[in-house]
């Protein structure tokens, strides 16, 4: 007998108390009593964006706000103040975002080794959405975000969130809008550890600095 059959057989025997006719799995979603809230609190769109900014900052992301037209200038300033000389750019990043930026653009190629990515100073991406209640940005590997590794290896990540379109209130609303078939990364603040006497230290392996730009589209 294969282990598959053995395990499934054990599961079935273990569930001898479940009546044979129990087909409740068929109507799972319809019959599942969820009972919890879709989102918490009653907020205007503006307040939801404010909450996102507040929660991001609370988890030590650096938050900036700007109008779409001012983004290139802001990014230039951010790279300069950090002294970044090279920046990883996902394939579908709107080119005008970096129209004024000085750093050398590096593109992630299948052949690029992790060591090559490790030598880049910064990375800039868009996002799939951001969750206000938890202060989370979610990347789904779309062309303006690139592969997961590019937001992981460099030490500095700038993520641009289109406000208010990409902002959702809560985790349930976020999941509804995401496609499980895509590789998803949820990021809440920079990499952190509390393993040493529970003192929070930013950055062990992921980027130690996360800057989020809330860009209003009008």
């Amino acid at each position: 007998m294969s282990s598959r059959d053995r395990i499934l057989g054990r599961v079935r025997r273990a569930l001898a108390d479940v009546p044979d006719g129990d087909t409740s799995y068929k109507a799972y979603e319809a019959s599942m009593d969820r009972g919890y809230a879709r989102e918490h609190g009653d907020r205007t769109t503006e307040q939801t964006v404010d909450l996102l900014a507040e929660n991001l900052a609370d988890y030590r992301a650096i938050v900036h706000r700007c109008a779409a037209a001012d983004l290139p200038e802001l990014l230039t300033r951010l790279f300069a103040s950090r002294g970044s000389r090279s920046v990883l750019v996902p394939p579908g990043l709107p080119p005008h975002w970096l129209a004024a930026a000085d750093p050398v653009r590096i593109h992630d190629r299948a052949a690029s080794t992790p060591h090559e990515l490790d030598r880049v100073d910064s990375v800039i991406t868009g996002c799939a959405l951001a969750v206000a209640e938890t202060g989370t940005i979610v990347l789904d590997g779309s062309p303006d975000q690139g592969r997961r590794r590019i937001t992981l290896v460099p030490d500095h990540h700038i993520c641009v969130v289109r406000v208010p379109d990409q902002v959702v209130s809560s985790v349930p609303v976020a999941l509804e809008r995401l496609d499980p078939a895509r590789p998803l990364t949820w990021i809440s603040g920079p990499s952190a550890t509390s393993d040493i006497e529970l003192d929070r230290v930013e950055g062990v392996h992921g980027p130690r600095t996360l800057e989020v730009v809330l860009m209003s589209e009008e």
Partner: protein
């Protein structure tokens, strides 16, 4: 399962002995558990629907367990459809063999690992080492544990028993033997220690060809796996290697994508007391070549190793709802005093006290005594985000130890003999006197206490009172658990986890 032992765990008495005399350990633990526990309460209070989320978490998991065979088959189909390969492992030996063969097939002799309870449970690192494959733990705390040739003592912060000075010494002494040495003049500030770990491990991430992980959740409907973490080491191991092998207990399943909305709200708040942990990675099989992202080969090893035996117990199966948040450890007065090592398993604290004896059976001394590693104060139940009634299961398991009865081992029903003259029983008799001689009465009292816990939090009504009188909380039990354990177990030479 492989001789029934969790490979690599010490015999209980030695571990407890050590823990008892170690005042540093107790101070570290106390500081840590109290800090997390207070933060957790604040994080939970932010959500006014916490009670409903908790109830839903319980319902989702119970439903899944009730139809586990169907959902496992559905998961398998979904993972295969997404380009993954599914393996089934009935016990630790089989899981280790599967993983070892998969690694060997890549021709590699090094793997990087995401912190995973399942791989610790089966002793994977040791099994790989025996075949000449070096497994590098990449979670900072796991690294501290691995370099210190130590054992984890907490689900979430495995090096919780170490303070910064000890960590500095371990790094300075051991890093060179594993790869990049610690920087000269390393101090004990957490930032410097974290930086040393970053540099040491980055070397390994960047050249790793094989990653090994567990998973916090698997979604039957979509075949998606979820890993929740803070540091980014998880993302490294899930993203950079060419081959990813995930070893996951069959109970980690949820039916639908939507179900994640419950646990992604309750898990971070219960474990690290954060609104959301810094990183969560979700992947569904492998991606096709033009969008290739992450490993090109993905293997999922579904692990039984005593879980189906646990499922067969109608009272005890609720332990399989556990999402390993560790909230129950942080509120447990017994854990706080004894430390995680004393439980003799990778699952310490209240959840360990009910899970280990079910996964491994109650035949060994350590496993037979674990149901007594509790004051039955009920705090673990109150904080559990999936509402596992740990006290209820503890009492149920005590009854099994003392009275014997039917249980399932390795898929077969067995009749357990009463543990006559057993260390656990003798200790319990001393603690409980007459009441314990009639476990049925104690159980009834305890069940009643569960229902009315909010009203009567400190004592058991009726016949249970005599027992609880010496175990009143938050007062320290009359005889601290560690003393009791040392006295009853410390003299014994070995507490091997052998099954019948």
């Amino acid at each position: 399962m492989s001789g029934g032992t969790f490979v690599g765990m010490p015999a209980f008495p030695e571990a407890a002995h050590e823990a008892v005399g170690n005042t540093t350990l107790r101070a570290n633990l106390r500081h840590a558990t109290h800090t997390i526990r207070d933060k957790r309460a604040r994080a939970v209070a932010e959500l006014d629907d916490w009670a409903e989320l908790r109830a839903a978490g319980r319902r989702v998991k119970d439903h899944t367990l009730r139809h586990l065979d169907r959902y496992l088959v559905q998961l398998e189909e979904s993972v295969v459809r997404a380009g993954g390969t599914v393996h089934w492992a009935a016990d630790a030996d089989e899981a280790n063999r599967i993983v070892t063969d998969l690694v060997k097939a890549t021709g590699e002799s090094e793997v990087v690992k995401v912190k995973s309870m399942a791989t610790q449970e089966i002793g994977l690192n040791e099994a790989l080492e025996a075949e000449g494959i070096h497994a590098y733990e990449t979670d900072l705390a796991e690294l501290i544990v691995q370099l210190g040739r130590d054992r984890p003592s907490h689900i979430l912060v495995p090096a919780i028993h170490r303070n910064r000075g000890e960590i500095r010494d371990i790094f300075a002494k051991e890093m060179a033997g594993w790869g990049r040495p610690a920087p000269e003049g390393l101090t004990d500030t957490p930032a410097e220690l974290a930086e040393a770990a970053r540099l040491h491990l980055r070397e390994k991430f960047l050249r790793a060809k094989v990653g090994i992980s567990g998973a916090n959740f698997m979604v039957a409907e979509t075949g998606t796996l979820v890993v929740v973490e803070s540091e980014g080491n998880g993302r490294m191991c899930l993203t950079l290697p060419e081959t990813l092998i995930s070893v996951v207990g069959i109970e980690k399943l949820v039916p639908t994508w939507r179900d994640l909305e419950v646990f992604l709200q309750t898990l971070p708040r219960s474990s690290t007391a954060e609104r959301m942990n810094p990183y969560t990675s979700m992947w569904t099989g492998t991606t096709d070549s033009d969008t290739a992202d992450g490993p090109s080969t993905f293997h999922l090893v579904l692990l039984d190793n005593g879980r189906t035996d646990t499922l067969a117990d109608e009272v005890g199966r609720q332990a399989l709802r556990c999402i390993r948040c560790s909230a129950c450890l942080n509120v447990c007065p017994v854990y706080e005093r004894a430390g995680g090592h004393a439980y003799g398993s990778v699952y310490p604290g209240p959840i360990g006290a009910i899970l280990s004896p079910q996964l491994r059976g109650t035949q060994s001394e350590i496993d037979a005594s674990l149901p007594y590693a509790s004051s039955l104060c009920g705090a673990c139940y109150e904080v559990c985000p999936v509402a596992i009634d740990i006290p209820e299961v503890l009492v149920h398991l005590r009854e099994r130890v003392v009275q014997g009865g039917e249980a399932t081992r390795h898929g077969t029903k067995v009749m357990l003999k009463p543990a006559k003259g057993h260390a656990a029983e003798r200790a319990a008799m001393r603690a409980a006197g007459l009441v314990f001689a009639r476990p049925g009465a104690l159980r009834a009292g305890q069940r009643l206490a569960s229902r009315t816990r909010r009203l009567h939090p400190r004592t058991l009504p009726g016949p249970g009172r005599a027992w609880s009188a010496t175990r009143e909380l938050p007062k320290v039990p009359a005889e601290p658990f560690r003393d009791w354990w040392q006295r009853t177990q410390g003299a014994r030479s070995k507490g091997k986890g052998n099954d019948a």
